[in-house]
């Protein structure tokens, strides 16, 4: 009887005990259990146990990193749902998207969510990069995390690009044909040098991307593999490292005088009443800036609940935006891909239209040369700017906000002037049709704009005696160029890539 009674009691207690053993240390109510709540959990312990109050001000991050992560999560969940029905074979692919859109219960809604969360992700990742740049948060010891971030940016764009082919409609087919030929465009140079027969990196890139010489079944299965398998794995790995390094770098960057500026708070009290004996023994053998060796962490609050609730709020907001977009706008689907008739105009997704605008002058420089220069330039920022002033501060550093304002004006003006001159008067080939290709490859509106921006930035370095000032100018100009080219590509280019003030002026056929 006794054993049976105990059995029943254990059975009764089992659910509570399962929860207890999962959480290990009980509900996060005291400082101690709040700490174990974080470091006793493999996912949460990418966070530090305590968070500096500066990191929690919403102007520090604008929540953009978490919004990117949330959009990623939404895209993963909706994407996995789409995989239940999607078939990666030409014809079948288009039909299965149609089924998802018109037949599958909630299919259209899930497809819309997937499409819009991917767009939201591109926006928030770029904005997050801009915030890390403008707050000078890439500086020591965060240089490498900036590079990881660039990896995340490229992977994000790669995911969008590969996903674009999957519906196998006219939009998809021609955007990817153009993309694959951009991969092949180093031939523009090797052809001009007469070297393509011996050295053909362009042809190799296209072959690897498409698995064939045209966009067909091989290409579709490759893009599918990249989209649902390889790139998500890369993204997950990079994101884990990205988050873990934030913790190892001592949390988010903040100004040197953050504590004074924040002032006292009732939430902050000395954490260690005794000298910490155990916690920092390991930390003591690590060199460099470990968090607060020998003194208790100051001006910090427990990550649970302060940080996690903030993260939850940003996640909910991101979800709301994605759902609202999905309710309001359907994801596009054109006719079945037709390899004989290009979509006119054939436009890539909007965030590549700036590139398409450049590509319309020269494939190699616009599609590979200038993007490579931009990526290398971005990656070098933390290694060229070794200054200290203004870290963790919006528009921190010599020049500050006034310099950014002036750079905005200069960046916008030069992009608009170059573009309008080209739209009005054409470019070298229109004046001298026999101009050799290499001349066009080297001297074109894209390289001209890049040169203007670079010269302006070098001038700033000299004028302010500071690399940070040069970087502020260059990054701002780069954003301006991106916006101007993207807007022109999106709204002002019609059939045959001719400039039109509005689609209502497009010729009828």
């Amino acid at each position: 009887m006794n054993a049976l009674q105990e059995f029943c009691e254990n059975l009764w207690a089992a659910p509570r005990r399962i929860l207890d053993t999962a959480l290990r240390s009980g509900a996060p109510k005291t400082d101690r259990t709040r700490s174990t709540f974080v470091f006793g959990n493999v996912f949460l312990h990418l966070h530090a146990v305590r968070t500096h109050r500066w990191s929690l001000r919403w102007t520090t991050t604008l929540g953009l990193g978490i919004a990117s992560a949330a959009a990623t999560l939404i895209a993963v969940v909706s994407g996995v749902l789409l995989m239940f029905y999607y078939k990666p074979y030409p014809e079948a692919a288009y039909q299965s998207i149609k089924d998802i859109h018109f037949v599958v219960p909630t299919g259209r809604f899930i497809r819309n969510i997937h499409r819009w969360s991917a767009n939201v992700m591109v926006v928030t990742v770029i904005a997050h990069m801009a915030r890390a740049f403008y707050t000078a948060s890439y500086r020591k010891p965060r240089e490498f995390n900036w590079l990881i971030g660039m990896g995340l940016l490229v992977t994000t764009l790669g995911l969008s690009f590969t996903g674009y082919l999957l519906p196998w409609d006219q939009l998809a087919y021609w955007a990817i044909t153009i993309g694959a030929n951009i991969a092949q465009s180093p031939r523009e140079v090797t052809d001009a040098l007469g070297a393509t027969d011996y050295f053909d990196p362009g042809g190799l890139q296209k072959l690897l991307l498409l698995g064939s010489d045209t966009v067909g079944a091989e290409a579709l299965i490759r893009f599918y593999l990249f989209h649902v398998m390889l790139l998500p794995m890369v993204l997950a790995a990079l994101m884990s490292v990205h988050f873990w390094r934030i913790r190892k770098d001592g949390g988010l960057s903040r100004p040197a005088d953050a504590d004074e500026r924040l002032g006292p708070s009732k939430d902050v009290y000395p954490v260690f009443t005794d000298t910490p004996a155990k916690t920092y023994q390991l930390a003591a053998i690590v060199r460099g800036r470990t968090p607060a060796v020998g003194k208790g962490p100051e001006n910090t609050v427990p990550s649970m609940p302060h940080l996690f609730y903030a993260e939850l709020a940003v996640t909910m907001l991101t979800l709301f935006v994605c759902l609202a977009l999905a309710i309001a706008f359907d994801a596009p689907l054109k006719e079945l891909a037709n390899p004989n008739i290009p979509e006119n105009p054939a436009k890539a997704p909007w965030y590549f239209l700036g590139l398409q605008e450049l590509v319309a002058f020269t494939a190699f420089m616009g599609g590979i040369g200038i993007p490579a220069i931009v990526l290398i330039g971005l990656g070098l920022i933390p290694y060229l700017d070794r200054e200290k002033a203004g870290s963790g501060e919006w528009f921190g550093g010599p020049g500050g906000w006034p310099l950014v304002q002036r750079s905005l004006a200069i960046g916008l003006a030069s992009a608009l002037i170059v573009e309008s001159l080209v739209i009005r008067y054409g470019w070298i080939r229109e004046w001298f049709p026999s101009t050799p290709q290499l001349v066009v490859t080297l001297i074109n509106p894209g390289t001209l704009l890049t040169a203007i921006y670079a010269a302006y930035s070098l001038w700033l370095v000299q004028r302010y005696q500071s690399s940070r000032a040069g970087a502020l100018g260059l990054f701002t100009c780069f954003l301006c160029g991106f916006v101007v080219l993207t807007v022109i590509g999106t709204y002002f280019r019609g059939p045959n890539w001719v400039f039109y003030w509005s689609p209502s002026d497009w010729p009828k056929h």
């Binding site: 153009i178 698995g211 006119n344 105009p345 054939a346 319309a360």
Partner: protein
């Protein structure tokens, strides 16, 4: 003993002799992985392309439009005939692979506005190369066009 006490337990001598073997095995493993990577990288590079045959036979209609420009259905080739013979021009734009349309004085590309004259030479826009002329064999109205083989422009049969 006393020579070792100079180094702390945390920062030992840089490379004691016994590590040489360790380094050697690391390098061996490293180069084995590089070698494997080389093998792995070979797989995605297709050796045989799964595209349909590029050669096709076509019967030309008795009367071609004055501008030439007969486009067999489903093919991206423009075939013309004049007193000197028949020739075929590829309609795949040399810029980024869109299919060009025939216009009154040649060809124009819908994607980024490249224009070509009737012989395929670039007259404006970003295309780096002229439209290639394709190999045509046969005679009369029965010809075989090979989209995979180019001939110097001006070759007519």
């Amino acid at each position: 003993m006393n020579s070792e006490t100079k180094h702390s337990r945390l920062e030992p001598e840089l490379m004691p002799r016994r590590d040489v073997l360790g380094m050697a095995s690391l390098w061996a493993a490293g180069s084995a992985f590089m070698f494997a990577l080389f093998g792995i990288a070979r797989l995605p590079k297709a050796a045989v392309l799964a595209s349909p045959s590029k050669k096709f036979r076509v019967t030309l209609p008795e009367t071609l439009p004055a501008s030439g420009a007969f486009v067999p259905p489903g093919r991206n080739v423009s075939i013309s005939r004049d007193s000197e013979g028949v020739h075929a021009v590829s309609l795949v734009c040399t810029h980024l692979g869109c299919i060009v349309n025939t216009s009154s004085d040649g060809f124009e590309c819908p994607c980024h506005g490249s224009r070509f004259d009737r012989n395929g030479a670039v007259t404006r826009g970003p295309a780096p190369q002229p439209l290639p002329w394709l190999k045509v064999t046969g005679s009369g109205n029965e010809v075989v066009v090979d989209e995979g083989a180019t001939v110097p422009s001006g070759t007519k049969v």
